[in-house]
Structures are given as structure tokens and as C-alpha cells.
């Protein structure tokens, strides 16, 4: 017997078998990410899902999260989400970056401010933008490097936050080159020193504690 067009009871509603799971993942993502602008974020979430892109979702709840509409700064978790979404591209279109930026409910002014530090035409090298983002997170070069390590590391959270030395030196020399106070020779000296002392015994990986101590010794001789 064909189904009648009129709905008589709830059993007549056909629920697509994949729908419950989609909704569940969506809800879990929303709880983890805690977006300030839920509508904007949902639109971004599903457009990423439909294209098969990495989703704009934090891996876990970030506690000092900006829940008020007024407080919408870049946080480490958000930068990590961006990194996950865009890092594999190498070079990122500014428009795409802006889209992803908006999906995470971040203000466009902050993006403009970050991009102003090293102006580019219409595409930005992701690692460069990432470095700039790190420096926006932490005021000094050291804390920027700390944020960078903690985002990029594959160590579990709270671990030594080690990253490959190549990545470290790339970010470090890029950020130092933007800083007029640091000369190139200084930077190179510091990196060489680090490479000799740290990398040889740690499998080419460098953690937060390594360069923090080294940096203090180097620039503030007691």
C-alpha cells in the first residue's frame, strides 16, 4: 500500500539514517568549540563538511574562552583550528583565510591588524601567517615561540611541546627578521647555538624548555 500524502502520526516521518549521527557530531563540535556567533559558525561548519574540508572545531574545550560577544580575540585554540584547516595548503588565499576567520567568529579588524605586520597581495604563506598569529597571541618573541610550539607539537597537552627544529628555526628567523632590534647575525648565532646544544641530543626536536633557558642565558647574561 503506498503511503498516503497526509501525515497522520509521527511514525510516518522518514528519518534519514545518517541524520542522527550528523546532528550528534554537530552538537559535540558546538559544545567543544563554543562559538560566539553560533549561526555564523554553523554555516561554516556545514560548508566545510559538505566540501570534505577539515572542520572548524577545537579539539577540546578551551577554558578561558571568549563567550561574550564583546570579547572576540584570537586564542591559541582558534589558531590551532585555523592551522588544521589551512596548513596543508602551503599558500592560502586571503579570501579563504578571511572566510575561515569569520567562521570562527573572529573580528576582521584583528585579521587586518595581523596582516599589516607583513603586508601581502592576495595570498599568504601559511607558516608566515601562523607565525604572525603566534606573535599576536604573545607579546614577546619568546612567548610567541612558546605558543607556536604548543600548537604545532604532537606531544600530549602539558607535555614538553616539542617541534622539529627546522620548523622552529623557520618561525624564529621569520619573526626576528620583522623585528628591527634583532640583527640577523644575532639570530643566526642564537639558532646555531641552540642547534649545537639541544638538537644533537634530542632527535632534532626542540621543546619550550630548551629555548627558554637558552634564550635567557644568551640575552641576559648574569
Amino acid at each position: 500500500m503506498p503511503l498516503p500524502d497526509t501525515m497522520f502520526c509521527a511514525q510516518q516521518i522518514h528519518i534519514p539514517p545518517e541524520l542522527p549521527d550528523i546532528l550528534k557530531q554537530f552538537t559535540k563540535a558546538a559544545i567543544r568549540t563554543q562559538p560566539t556567533d553560533v549561526l555564523q559558525w554553523s554555516a561554516g561548519y556545514f560548508s566545510a563538511l559538505s566540501r570534505g574540508d577539515p572542520l572548524p572545531v577545537k579539539e577540546r574545550v578551551e577554558l578561558p574562552v571568549a563567550t561574550q560577544k564583546t570579547d572576540t580575540g584570537l586564542t591559541r585554540g582558534l589558531l590551532k583550528v585555523l592551522h588544521k584547516q589551512l596548513a596543508h595548503k602551503g599558500t592560502v588565499d586571503l579570501k579563504e583565510l578571511q572566510d575561515k576567520w569569520k567562521t570562527l567568529c573572529l573580528p576582521v579588524e584583528t585579521l587586518k591588524f595581523i596582516l599589516k605586520m607583513d603586508p601581502v597581495e592576495d595570498a599568504v604563506e601559511w607558516m608566515k601567517f601562523f607565525s604572525l598569529g603566534c606573535s599576536a597571541l604573545g607579546g614577546t618573541l619568546q612567548s610567541a615561540m612558546k605558543h607556536g610550539c604548543e600548537i604545532l607539537t604532537e606531544d600530549p597537552e602539558g607535555g614538553p611541546a616539542r617541534i622539529p627544529f627546522e620548523t622552529f628555526s623557520y618561525i624564529f628567523s621569520y619573526l626576528s627578521s620583522l623585528d628591527q632590534d634583532r640583527t640577523e647575525s644575532d639570530t643566526n648565532l642564537f639558532l646555531n647555538h641552540l642547534e649545537e646544544t639541544v638538537v644533537a641530543r634530542k632527535n632534532g626536536m626542540i621543546g619550550v624548555s630548551d629555548f627558554f633557558i637558552e634564550d635567557k642565558k644568551k640575552f641576559h647574561p648574569v
Binding site: 541524520l19 563554543q34 554555516a43 556545514f46 563538511l49
Partner: protein, 184 residues
Amino acid sequence: MSIPFSNTHCQIPQGFGNLLEGLTREILREQPDNIPAFAAAYFENLLEKREKTNFDPAEWGAKVDDRFYNNHAFKVQQPCGATEPEEAPPEKRAPEKDTSQEIVKEQEIQASFVPFGIHLQSGSPNVELITGHAWCLQEEANIDEEEEAAAAAIKIQAAFRGHKARKEMKEMKVQGSTEEQEME
């Protein structure tokens, strides 16, 4: 909604339930083949709508959830009808008691409807209509007032003229009587 004022870590974002409900309903209604694509289009559409009408279903849902604790949130949408009459200069307000009462009544009626009318938007023709109506009433009141003033002025003038005319007549009479007496 979870318990307010608790410091629980996992909270559902404000108004998320409303979005989820709307999305699910539309998916069940339309039965799309590609649910993520459909959902993306659905939210894009809502975003566009928000840019045009400034109506955010998530925000609305948050308000509905929060209603028990903060009923004032619903009054924010109200003043688009109420502020304009209040801005009118105070000397105009005094004689139009009737109209202002009517406006208040209308607002009460509207307020009682708003929590149920989920589709009501701040820029909806409904509110504009009521606002317009209130303005009309006010205009009418102004016209009445002017007419009254004019009528009163005419009355006073008429009374004064009558008084003047009578005085003249009296004088004429007095003169006439003296003349008659002289004649006699």
C-alpha cells in the same frame, strides 16, 4: 539550557538548540539526499536573512531559553513602537491623554502576542503598522487641539464683540434719551 550560574565546563552555546531544531525540522521536511550540503545552504540562507533583517534565530532562541530569568529581553524589541511618541515634546503630550492610553493598550496587546509569534521580526510590517497608527492618532489629536483653540478664540472674540456692540447700543440709547429729554 543547563543550570545558570553554575561553573560547569561543558555548556551548550546560547541559542544552539533553536538552530538545531530548525535544521532538523527542515531536513525532515525536505528529505534531502545530501544532508551536509543542504544544511550548508540552510545556514547560508539564515545568514543572508540575518544580514537583511537583523534577525538571528540563535539569539532569539537564547532569549526564549533565558525567558524565565530575564523576561526583559523581550521588551528590547518593543520600543520601536514606543520610543517615537515619547520623543514628542512634553507640551504636546498633555492634551492627548486618550491617544497615549490607546498606544499603551496596543503595546500591551502586542507584548502579549510577541512571545508566541516566533516569526515576528523587529523590522516586520506589523510593528511598523502599529507605529504608523500611533502617529496617525497623534496627528489627529494635534489637529483637534488646533481646532479647539481656534474655536475658543472665535468664541472669545465673539463675546468681546457682542460686549462692545451692546456697549455702543447703550451709549446710543443714553444719547437718544437725553436728546428726547432735550426735545421735550
